[in-house]
């Protein structure tokens, strides 16, 4: 391969492989760390599970904002760029207390299909996030790469919401 080819391949391979490494690292931590079952709680909520449920719901809504603003960006509306950037940062920020609780108190589990899917998607989500951030730093990346990693990120987020928050709401009702 010529140098140019190597460079071209690396613009794709580096974000994707670093993202994959991040996903694997989270999964390994979730498996090796002895789940404590306990974690911080917030006043005003019946349990931290319900806090997580609402944070995940907020993240899912911000995820929808991401898709809509990304669509607008690709259709000649550069003004929505700050909205896209900051809604994305906010979406990832609200997931952090959730994933910290998942990893610290519950760990990577696979007792039921829902839990297995949720655990896998959780690791995949942050891997996809890392891949997307790294893709953004490479303007020479192929045009299809950013929508693909962005789409993967959104799909994972919605999958995570369906396997956790929706399950919580349908099991316990829409409670705080």
């Amino acid at each position: 391969m010529s140098t140019a080819q190597v460079q071209k391949a690396s613009t794709i391979a580096i974000p994707l492989s670093v993202g994959a490494a991040a996903a694997v690292a989270l999964g390994v931590y979730g498996r090796l760390h002895d789940p404590t079952g306990v974690a911080i709680n917030l006043a005003g909520f019946s349990s931290f599970q319900s806090v997580k449920t609402w944070l995940a719901t907020l993240a899912a809504v911000l995820g929808l904002v991401q898709v809509v603003s990304a669509y607008a960006l690709y259709h000649g509306r550069p003004k929505v760029a700050p909205l896209h950037r900051w809604s994305g940062r906010a979406a990832v920020a609200v997931t952090l207390p959730v994933v910290a609780h998942c990893l610290y108190a519950l760990g990577f589990q696979y007792g039921e299909p829902r839990v297995l899917i949720h655990s896998l998607l959780g690791c995949f989500f942050y891997g996809a996030f890392v891949a997307k951030m790294l893709t953004l730093t490479r303007p020479d990346a192929p045009k299809w790469l950013l929508p693909v990693v962005g789409g993967a990120l959104f799909t994972a987020l919605i999958g995570l919401w369906l396997t956790s928050a929706l399950w919580f709401f349908t099991t316990f009702g829409v409670i705080r």
Partner: protein, 226 residues
């Protein structure tokens, strides 16, 4: 847009995640399952800005729960919760010192309260109605069998921390048991002569409403007599 700003976002996210893990490990301290309610975090933890986690730089290794040593003279209290292997029923076992208490129920009509002993890593429990439960505890897991009217249900369940655990409430008419599983799911039976599914338990306030009457539940720690 600067090409480095996604990297800044990425770094802030990583710092934020580590920060929340550290907050979890410091706030929850050394968890003693089944005795202490979950620590209420200061309001600052509600904020999600990664900047709150500068203290995350200190490399605090996440604490692991103290292993349940089966031979040590002072055994820490522990609660184990989970399903039987074929998911016929849920069960929770609480151990305190050399005493143990357990509850098995299917969330609909079957239930049993058992008490017994915990010696040398072996649990032997009986109920007043004749059910038996035996288990061995190794590596934070209780593995054994529950026998009711000639039928044996096997299980292998892991140690769980609050709010997961075993709760019991009594009033003039009924006895209610709840098993709160590690994933937050509840299984319980309300027995007022006719066993029926238990109403939802608020694990924070340990309160529930049974036939319109509020009741307060106690966490079962293991040295009870039912």
């Amino acid at each position: 847009m600067g090409q480095r700003s996604p990297l800044v976002t990425l770094a802030a996210t990583a710092v934020g995640l580590v920060g929340f893990l550290v907050v979890n490990s410091t706030q929850t301290g050394n968890p003693t399952p089944a005795s202490s309610p979950p620590a209420v975090a200061p309001a600052a933890q509600g904020t999600v800005t990664p900047s709150t986690s500068e203290s995350a730089v200190t490399p605090t290794a996440p604490k692991t729960t103290a292993p349940a040593t089966t031979t040590a003279p002072a055994k820490p209290p522990a609660v184990y919760a989970g399903h039987t292997n074929e998911r016929e029923a849920s069960l929770a076992i609480a151990t305190k010192g050399e005493r143990a208490a357990a509850y098995v129920c299917d969330g609909r009509r079957l239930e049993a309260w058992l008490t017994g002993t915990y010696h040398n890593g072996q649990l032997v429990l009986r109920s007043k109605t004749g059910e038996r439960l035996t288990a061995a505890i190794t590596n934070n897991t209780a593995t054994g069998a529950f026998t009711l009217s000639g039928r044996t249900l096997r299980f292998s369940i892991a140690k769980a921390g609050p709010p997961a655990g075993l709760y019991r409430a009594r009033n003039a008419t009924s006895t209610i048991g709840w098993i709160v599983l590690p994933d937050g799911k509840q299984v319980g039976v309300d027995d007022d002569g006719t066993p029926a599914p238990a109403p939802p338990l608020d694990t924070t306030r340990r309160a529930a409403t049974v036939n319109g009457v509020p009741v307060t539940a106690q966490a079962v720690v293991g040295d009870e007599t039912f």
